[in-house]
Amino acid sequence: MKNIFLFIRRYFNFLSFLLLQVAAIVMLSSASKTHDSFFSSLANEVTGSINKRYSGFREYFTLKETNRVLSEENARLKNGLPSNFLPVNDGKTYFLDTLTRDTLGHYRKFTYLPARVVGNTYTLQSNFITLERGTEQGVKKGMAVVGSAGIVGVVVETSSNFSKVMSLLHRNSKVSAMLKKDHTAGSIEWDGNDPSYLTLKNVTKGAKINKGDTVLTSTYSSNFPSGLRIGTIAEIDADPASNFYTLKIKTATNFFSIQYVYLIENTRYIEQVQLETNTPKNP
């Protein structure tokens, strides 16, 4: 017993070094697996509120750009209004419904919530975005996040007033995508190199693709509505050893200057994910 105490006293510094190292590594490994265990919501609130102050003052420098993006988006949305598509002789007007259920019995599936970006990284291998909107304002884990130009990421963590978004620029991020032209499915990942380019994998070589083709979110995604812009094909890499293309995609979203985003809630998200993760019993 005495020897044990002597040992601990002699190597006290080395032992505390080992202890702190192990603590750091354990935090890191469990965090990259689940994204929430060591990210207590307290720390999230503290860094979130500091980030908020900073971005409140930084926003002044990008007002012009934000304005331009918003007015562009407004113009695009106004062009899409059903009142712009009045049939000539028919006399009927179509309006978008905002209720959860309309008179014909259609149920609303997606709801959009606006949110302000208060924190954003793009220099690391695992990049996150902090939004100033949390569980008290209706944010849930797994909600999709889109910007005005294209998709941005997925909510991985929430606290009462802030939420953390795994950006597309994260090595573990994976979004199912399709080509606009012929709906060929693939999956969007990031190789960790250039924040302006993503990688589209698993596109079959049967698809006819060209540089500049648009890539959209696919119909298979559980959190993203289908048909949102992801980007355009910038480079085609046909590996002769595989049956699939690996495509370099120029992102539609400019990750260096995100200011406002929309959170999309899929009201049937939990039901779909539960069904998909169930392991079927052998018949």
Binding site: L20, L28, S29, S32, F39, G119, T121, T123, S126
Partner: protein, 177 residues
């Protein structure tokens, strides 16, 4: 100003500088990420207790981690250089002379060559370990070697800039302190 207060202010400023300025710079190249915050460990006083040195290193790394959303990623290399620092200082400075008369490491208290070696070795170890952890998670050898060299070079450049900008007085230790 007391040494404790000065170090607390330095801690806050370095973390904010790293998070809100250096991390916001659009990347010049994927290998070059500017890091400066760990200069805090380099500049801590000579006389600090080794155990507290480790704890301070851990807290420094962890507070940066909470901003970047990667708990433990920066804490591990900071603890490592905090552990190595006393051994390196023992090797590099003549005992009983500088350590007795100066408060903290710097080119004035140690001389140009030993201080450059001290900063260079600790910077290299910090980046080597940091990128190694990243590499073990994702894996790409060219990325690993390139990022260690690129990031170390840019950090050393910034450390020398910081030394020139902030002319830290090589204050002598007095009995009153």
């Amino acid at each position: 100003m007391s040494i404790l207060l000065k170090n607390i202010i330095r801690f806050v400023l370095l973390i904010l500088f790293q998070v809100f300025i250096l991390n916001q710079i659009p990347p010049l190249h994927q290998f070059i990420v500017p890091y400066l915050y760990f200069i805090y460990i380099l500049w801590l006083p000579f006389q600090i207790n080794r155990f507290w040195l480790l704890v301070i290193g851990f807290i420094l790394g962890l507070s940066l981690d909470y901003f970047t959303g990667t708990p433990g990623l920066h804490a591990a290399p900071c603890v490592l250089i905090a552990y190595i620092r006393p051994f390196l200082l023992n090797l590099l400075i003549p005992k009983e002379t500088t350590e007795q008369s100066y408060i903290e490491p710097g080119y004035k208290s140690m001389g140009w060559a030993p201080y450059a070696l001290y900063a260079g070795v600790l910077t290299f170890i910090h980046h080597f370990y940091l990128v190694l952890i990243e590499w073990l998670q994702f894996g790409d050898f060219v990325y690993f070697i390139g990022k260690v060299t690129g990031t170390t070079a840019i950090s050393l450049l910034m450390i020398s800039l910081a030394e020139m900008l902030f002319n830290r007085k090589g204050r002598l230790r007095t009995n009153a302190a």
